[in-house]
């Protein structure tokens, strides 16, 4: 029987989609062996209201830790609290998100517990006493099968790989206190600046419209913003040249040293397809490329390529997408 711990990430009191992905992944493993899923959610008072949602996606128990000192990400308090819960829980696996928060939290917890951690996991399976995970290495050019033998095994799941599936369970709420005093943490998040809430995150957007050097300047990203608006569910990405030039913020960069994304649709505009960029988006389901150079490497992986002047093509595409959406 494999009991599984799932860390349900929140921000600003809201449950993030990756939190449901963690519970979904946990439920699938637990069901293979008749095990239980304990979801863990922490934040400012009131965050426990999400317990119902976590139950709907498969949590047998929801551990709720509410404290004013957990309103913003509090790495030291959260790591201590999570480690304590996992230590007491006899779990085979503890699941974290491979997000900005989860990538910071999970290694701390692993070190506290003295157990193994693999992040950016795309698949999880049990094999006797071992946990077997798939983890892309060498900028996604090689897939590694990794065997984990610690009890529990800590894994960070890659966003968008475990589509949330409803699978209702009781979701009994168990309230717990933070371990130690959250206000005594040495590392303190003083401020969080978020872009407009309407802006979709690159990791979560079903469609990404991404621009490269071919855009020629920051002002021309208006073309991509219009195209993204036509899709209605799109985020804007960029290549490293674009962010290094300061045309777009570094947080928009997709590639080896930026974000790794796997949207349903990736529209690469004026992007030649440097290997470092491909590393960040090659797992997208459908790839469209618009580039004036028909020899550009991006066309080798694009499902649909159009050769030509992006300044002529993109506005026509925007109008056509708008038209298609209005009939949709």
């Amino acid at each position: 029987m494999a009991n599984v711990f799932a860390f349900a990430e929140t921000r600003n009191g809201e449950l993030r989609k990756i939190g449901l992905e963690a519970v979904t992944a946990a439920r699938k493993i637990a069901d293979e062996t008749g095990g239980k899923v304990d979801a863990f959610i922490a934040g400012a008072p009131g965050v426990g209201a999400h317990a119902e949602q976590l139950a709907k996606y498969g949590a047998d128990t929801v551990i709720v830790v509410e404290h004013a000192g957990l309103e913003k990400y509090n790495p030291e308090a959260l790591a201590a609290t999570v480690a304590e819960r996992i230590r007491g829980g006899a779990y085979r696996i503890a699941i974290f998100p491979t997000s900005a928060l989860g990538s910071d939290l999970a290694p701390r917890v692993a070190a506290k517990l003295g157990v193994g951690l693999v992040t950016d996991v795309t698949a999880v399976n049990l094999d006797g006493d071992a946990v077997i995970v798939q983890h892309p290495v060498n900028i996604g050019k090689v897939m590694a099968t990794v065997k984990m033998t610690s009890q529990p095994a800590l894994i960070g799941i890659r966003p968008n790989m475990f589509t949330p599936v409803e699978n209702p369970r009781a979701g009994a709420v168990e309230r717990a206190e933070p371990v130690g005093d959250p206000s005594a943490s040495r590392v303190v998040v003083k401020e969080v600046k978020l872009g407009s809430s309407a802006k979709l995150d690159l990791g979560e957007a079903p469609v990404i419209v991404s621009g490269g050097r071919g855009l020629k300047g920051p002002e021309n990203f208006k073309l991509l913003e219009d195209l993204a608006a036509a899709f209605g569910n799109a985020a804007i990405g960029a290549t490293r040249v674009v962010t290094d030039e300061g045309w777009r913020p570094h947080s928009d960069q997709i590639g080896q040293t930026g974000r790794l994304v796997s949207p349903q649709l990736y529209v690469a505009v004026g992007i030649s397809g440097a290997i470092q960029h491909l590393a960040g988006m090659r797992t997208s389901r459908t790839i469209v490329a618009i580039n004036k150079d028909k020899e550009a490497p991006i066309f080798k992986i694009a499902d649909y390529g159009i050769v030509g002047d992006l300044f002529e093509i993109v506005p026509v595409l925007t109008a056509a997408v708008k038209e298609a959406k209005s009939h949709g």
């Binding site: 996604g140 065997k147 003083k190 080896q256």
Partner: protein, 250 residues
Amino acid sequence: MKIAVCIKRVPDMDVRFKIAPIGNAVDEAGLKFDINDFDSWAVEAALQIKDKDSATEVVIVSLGSDSVQETIRKALAMGADRGVELKVARIPFDGLAIAHALAAELKGGGFDLILFGKQSADSSNGAVGAMVGELLGLPVVTAISKLELAGATGSAKREIEGGQEFVEFPLPAVLTIDQGLNTARYPALKGIMAAKKKPLDVRPAQLGEQSVSVTKMELPPERPAGRIIGEGASAVPELVGLLQTEAKVL
């Protein structure tokens, strides 16, 4: 100030990898190796502190086989003061085992800052820096893209999904470096000559117990070959049609 920078030697990624006959590693024949990108920015961050305060000592620590000496020398050529090789026959995949070896080396070293790259391009697990901080009981801030120090306090910016987090922490601390903090300098000829005479100690790595291992590596299935559907704006209607009927994403 005393700063340690932990770096990793990784293969150049701009190649088509082959799987070694052993089945759980890539074939290293013909691969070029260099310092991991994120780690080069960590070295640069340390050197920028040293630029302002020449009394700063920058120590490069790298776990690997003797080939890492070349990578350590590069960091010394950039301007670091001395290097330490923690010798292993082969770098394990288990981040915690590596973190134990680094923590054993760094413990009691009197470092004000211990810097890492955010993650390595090869094993891409992004865990060792924070684990070392945890093992040493030091404050940890990961994936920073801006850093300011004022006396015994630091502030840093972290990129998060759709925004930024501004973090304060006391020194000594462990930091991991993201893209955007700086651009790494190239070693100058003078630096390359000087680096040959800088101290580089070699010690056996005291790896922790390993519970994570790679059992198989394989090349992911190739995407179907790309397909150019047309030229210019006149190809747009066909594209939109394919997105609707074939790809079903519109």
